[in-house]
């Protein structure tokens, strides 16, 4: 977290509490894009994300007086956003998600790779495939269940540390590390299958 962001956040928090003119504008300027995108990556639907973002900002404005300074302001806002989105998901029919277990690496009883491995790492260094790779990562991430998707989005897309993600989600750091690793193993396997298919076809 950059020092600048800290400074911005502290001033913003102070101004919101005082009800200073322009504080809400500043809140929107700093967080509107981030909150909308985080909501988009969890809810995967623009109108849902917009409504969630409205709820998030209303909650922030209402509760800013009671916000305890024991966690960083941005992690408090992210937490409100994640909770708001998860509540919305619960209220809906569950989205179709893949089972992550089907994409975990398979080992023999002796702990050796059960099937041959293809090394496609050199191929994605070519620009054309590189772009494609980004698109596929997005697509496969969207198919993850929210348990993994939220962790993956906060860590690998938002670039937050495991400690920050743990605070936002109210989970332990080891739990975050384990979910994140499984999400990456899943992605690696999905990408492998995609690239092999491309070769075969």
């Amino acid at each position: 977290m950059s020092a600048e962001r800290w400074k911005d956040d502290e001033a913003l928090l102070e101004n919101l509490r005082k009800g200073a003119p322009g504080a809400v504008d500043e809140l929107l300027r700093l967080y509107q894009g981030k909150i909308f995108n985080l909501a988009m990556s969890i809810l995967k639907n623009e109108s849902d994300a917009e409504e969630a973002a409205q709820d998030v900002f209303m909650t922030v404005i209402r509760k800013v007086e009671t916000f305890q300074g024991n966690s960083a302001f941005y992690s408090w806002i992210y937490r409100i956003c994640v909770n708001t989105c998860l509540m919305r998901l619960r209220g809906k029919r569950r989205n179709e998600t893949v089972s992550i277990e089907e994409f975990m690496p398979v080992f023999t009883d002796e702990g050796m790779h059960a099937s041959p491995m293809d090394d496609w790492s050199k191929e994605v260094e070519r620009d054309a495939l590189n772009e494609e790779l980004g698109r596929m990562i997005r697509k496969y991430t969207e198919e993850l269940s929210e348990k993994y998707r939220v962790v993956f989005v906060l860590s690998d897309v938002e670039g937050l540390s495991n400690e920050e993600t743990a605070k936002i989600l109210g989970l332990t750091v080891p739990a975050i590390k384990s979910r994140l690793h499984r999400a990456r193993l899943y992605l690696r396997e999905q990408l492998s299958r995609y690239i092999l298919e491309g070769k075969a076809g």
Binding site: G19, V24, D25, L27, L28, Q32, G33, K34, F36, N37, E46, E50, A53, Q54, F57, M58, I61, R62, P105, F107, E110, G111, M112, H113, P116, M117, D118, D119, W120, S121, V124, N130, L133, G134, I137, R138, D156, V157, E158, G159, K177, L180, H181, R184, L185, L187, R188, L191, S192
Partner: protein, 171 residues
């Protein structure tokens, strides 16, 4: 170290936080295991892909969504001070009622024991409140009206001092 252990330790290996002895062991395994080498390289490529994706992502929010959100939040924020005032007025009304209830019950000798004890011990050291309650007992609470501000603040403090579950409610 076997292939399975290696696969589940790759995160620390790739981000450089792995204990040096473990790293040596892992490197030794990689050197003689082709599938693990391929697995590790493709795992790295996956992480690299997500890192690039992160750099490429812009916080793009559609202009019309931004506009609607701006309007909604600003309008709601404008109404917010009114809401706070409403809330404070409500709290003030509740407090006024509770003080009146306390005075009424004290005048009628119907205070719950914890509250009666607090009032008694407070009055013993506070001539103002003691005089007020004496007067109320003589004239009756209904004609007493709201207590003067000095007395009122003592009574509010008294009620707040009651232990949880002993809060004053007129039965």
């Amino acid at each position: 170290m076997n292939c399975k252990e290696l696969a589940y330790m790759l995160a620390d290996y790739c981000n450089g936080s792995m204990d040096p002895r473990l790293r040596e062991e892992l490197d030794a395994h990689l050197a003689k295991c082709e599938p693990c080498m391929a697995f590790t390289k493709t795992f790295r490529a996956t992480c690299e892909g997500t890192r690039k994706l992160r750099e490429a992502i812009e916080y793009a929010i559609p202009a019309e969504v931004r506009e609607r959100l701006d309007m909604f939040v600003r309008a709601a924020a404008l109404k917010y001070p009114e809401k706070v005032k409403e809330y404070r007025d409500q709290v003030e009304r509740d407090r006024r009622e509770k003080v009146a209830d306390l005075v009424g019950a004290a005048a009628a000798g119907k205070l719950p024991s914890a509250a009666a004890l607090l009032v008694e011990s407070h009055c013993a050291s506070c001539p103002g409140c003691s005089g007020y309650f004496d007067a109320v007992r003589k004239t009756g609470a209904s004609r007493a009206g709201d207590p003067p501000a000095g007395i009122r603040s003592h009574l509010i403090a008294l009620m707040q001092a009651l232990p949880p579950g002993e809060e004053f409610f007129l039965a």
